[in-house]
């Protein structure tokens, strides 16, 4: 199966993804590159800097390891070369000594002079130390050890042949050893010794040459590696530096921008404050005048006023009052967005007890069944949260006024460690869910003014306060059945 598919496309894996095998082969390296770039772009600046420094660190480790290895080899080679030189020297000495042994032995046989015998015996005495030293110097090389064994044997054979000749000489005099004295007792062995020593010498010289070449190459490689490594490290460091600098520049820019925006915002806030001050002061004056002069007019024409005219005057006054109320509500709403927020622990149970006690005038003549669960403490601005619960409870009381028995339930839903959701449920007139998005808008009302009073700012205030606490608010309702209002507050401290 595989061989068949392989024959059709040289790259079966990418052929599955892409119709043209040749194209996929061409696009593969850039694809990997793009994936790498994409991965890199996903990293935070800290991770990039860390990655850069890690690479520099790993690079330094690799360079150090290789340099250490090369230097060790260099040192080992120079040690081995020393040994090789020693060996060559020793071999020369052995060769000279063995030649001398043969020479003085022959002279002794011919002349019978003791000084030659003494010289010969010195060489014989030296032989074990030669052997020991030899074994020491060829340690680690099988080939040379083999040769040393042969050499040793040859030396022994030469010496034993010579000692045999000495015995014959002492027993039978010069005649017995005549031919040996002319030819040499260990002539053949000495020749073999020369040959072996020449072989060993050649072997060591070749080894030295090899090591010198190897060391030179190692040194050159180390230098090249160090050069490239240092260059790479520099590039990497430059790259990390670029990122850090880029980040710092960016941060500075953002900080500057933030400051500029903060100043703009502050200016806008100041303007808004001046505006609402002006609204609060100047807009009320004409209203006061409308109501005031309507009152004065009523007073001065009191006796001749018919019902219709009296109603007109009343309407003028009522409208002025209503507008005054709207202005006040709008100012409260505007102040709610600007006011400094406190952050303390608030006990909603106490808050709700106080609110219900404050509402007792509205509750007169009403039959209300309260179901209030034990509520957990929350973090927030006590005055603002009081306003939230006040508005929601007052709404529940207001919109259940048409019920013979009002049911109002306050509780907590889905408690979790990070957030808490309060709800206030009533069996009042409710609302159609299609109008739910309008509920929390400023001056949005779902009921006619003659049904339920109010300016329509309460829920807008609720939403604004809850948002400033980092929470959410929403409502569910069924027309003529009741409504439930939810307030979700985060449990952890949040800055507005």
């Amino acid at each position: 199966m595989e061989s068949v598919s392989n024959r059709h496309s040289p790259t079966p894996l990418s052929a599955a993804d892409k119709p043209e095998p040749s194209a996929s082969v061409l696009t593969r390296p850039p694809a990997v590159y793009h994936a790498l770039v994409a991965w890199f772009h996903k990293l935070t600046i800290e991770q990039r800097v860390l990655a850069g420094f890690s690479m520099v660190f790993v690079g330094i480790l690799i360079i150090s390891a290789i340099s250490y290895r090369n230097t060790s080899i260099l040192l080992a080679n120079s040690g081995l070369n020393g040994r090789s030189h020693d060996l060559i020297q020793l071999l020369n000495n052995i060769e000279a000594a063995m030649s001398e042994a043969e020479d003085v032995h022959r002279r002794y046989l011919v002349t019978g002079e003791d000084s030659y015998l003494e010289a010969y015996k010195r060489v014989v005495k030296q032989k074990p130390s030669f052997t020991a030293y030899l074994h020491d110097l060829v340690h680690g090389s099988q080939e040379q050890q083999q040769r040393v064994r042969v050499l040793d044997r040859m030396m022994d054979r030469q010496l034993s042949a010579q000692s045999k000749a000495l015995v014959q000489f002492q027993e039978g005099g010069f005649r017995a050893v005549r031919s040996m004295a002319f030819e040499g007792a260990g002539k053949r062995e000495l020749a073999a010794i020369h040959q072996i020593i020449a072989e060993m010498d050649l072997h060591e010289r070749q080894a030295i040459r090899r090591r010198v070449v190897e060391s030179a190459a190692g040194t050159r490689n180390t230098i090249i590696l160090l050069g490239i490594g240092v260059l790479l490290q520099l590039v990497m460091l430059a790259w990390v530096y670029y990122f850090i600098r880029h980040d710092i520049t960016e941060r500075r820019r953002v900080a500057g921008e933030l400051q500029r925006r903060g100043e703009l915002l502050e200016a806008a806030n100041k303007e808004l404050e001046a505006f609402s001050y002006s609204v609060s002061h100047d807009l009320r004056a004409p209203l006061r005048h409308i109501d005031g002069y309507a009152g004065l007019l009523r007073k001065s024409v009191e006796h001749s006023l018919n019902d219709k005219a009296a109603r007109y005057l009343r309407t003028i006054s009522d409208s002025a009052k209503q507008m005054g109320q709207l202005i006040d509500d709008l100012l409260v709403f505007s102040r709610m967005g600007r006011q400094e927020m406190l952050r303390t622990t608030v006990d909603p149970n106490q808050l709700i007890r106080d609110i219900i006690s404050d509402l007792r005038l509205d509750l007169q003549g009403r039959e209300i069944s309260w179901t209030i669960a034990a509520l957990p403490e929350v973090q927030g601005d006590p005055a603002m949260l009081r306003q939230v619960f006040m508005n929601l409870i007052a709404n529940a009381v207001k919109f259940t006024s048409t019920r013979p028995i009002a049911l109002i339930e306050i509780g907590v839903e889905r408690p979790s460690p990070t957030e808490i959701t309060f709800f206030i449920r009533d069996n009042g007139v409710g609302f159609d869910m299609q109008y739910a998005p309008k509920l929390f808008g400023v001056f949005q009302r779902l009921h006619r003014a003659d049904e339920f009073e109010g300016t329509g700012i309460g829920l807008a205030n609720v939403r604004r306060i809850v948002h400033r606490h980092g929470g959410r608010t929403w409502a569910e309702g069924v027309a003529d059945k009741g409504a439930t209002f939810y307030v979700l507050l985060p449990m952890r401290r949040l800055d507005s």
Partner: protein, 151 residues
């Protein structure tokens, strides 16, 4: 005698002034009211200069001060009054449309004796001005220093 001491009303808006006077008229104290149209006039009155050069010496029983006035505003007048050792004892009532917290705080910090927000509804405004006029102009005993002649 308090009955002879005038009530100083600083009000730049003639309609507000008329309404205030109408309210005090009902209590028969409107004839004691001296009306100033801006802060500078209030200071002229208190220091007996300008158009008030030849007025009868003596401090008023109370000063009703609007905050927002041309030339010299209410807070500046208040600061001047409370910084002058002779004027300091005069009770000063801020009578203003502003419900802003900063105005309240500033007024009390400068030594205002009372702070009243003018109600929008006429009958509330009426009763507020009546009560203020009656209390400060008739019931309250002004400090003896206010009887001392100026200069």
């Amino acid at each position: 005698m308090t009955a002879t001491k005038p009530i100083l009303l600083a009000e730049d808006n003639p309609r507000d002034a008329e309404l205030a006077l109408a309210a005090m008229e009902a209590e028969h104290i409107s004839d004691k009211v001296v009306l100033c149209h801006d802060g500078a006039e209030v200071l002229d009155y208190l220091y007996c200069r300008g158009q008030f050069k030849s007025r009868l010496r003596g401090n008023p029983a109370v000063v009703f001060l609007d905050l927002k006035m041309p030339k010299v505003n209410g807070l500046e007048v208040l600061r001047t009054i409370k910084a002058d050792v002779n004027l300091r004892p005069i009770p000063v009532v801020m009578l203003t449309s502003s419900r802003e917290e900063c105005d309240l705080a500033d007024s009390y910090a400068l030594g205002a004796n009372a702070y009243v927000v003018k109600p929008v509804e006429f009958h509330k405004f009426l009763s507020a001005v009546k009560e203020l006029g009656t209390f400060w102009g008739l019931i309250n005993e002004p400090p003896p220093e206010s009887c001392r002649s100026m200069h």
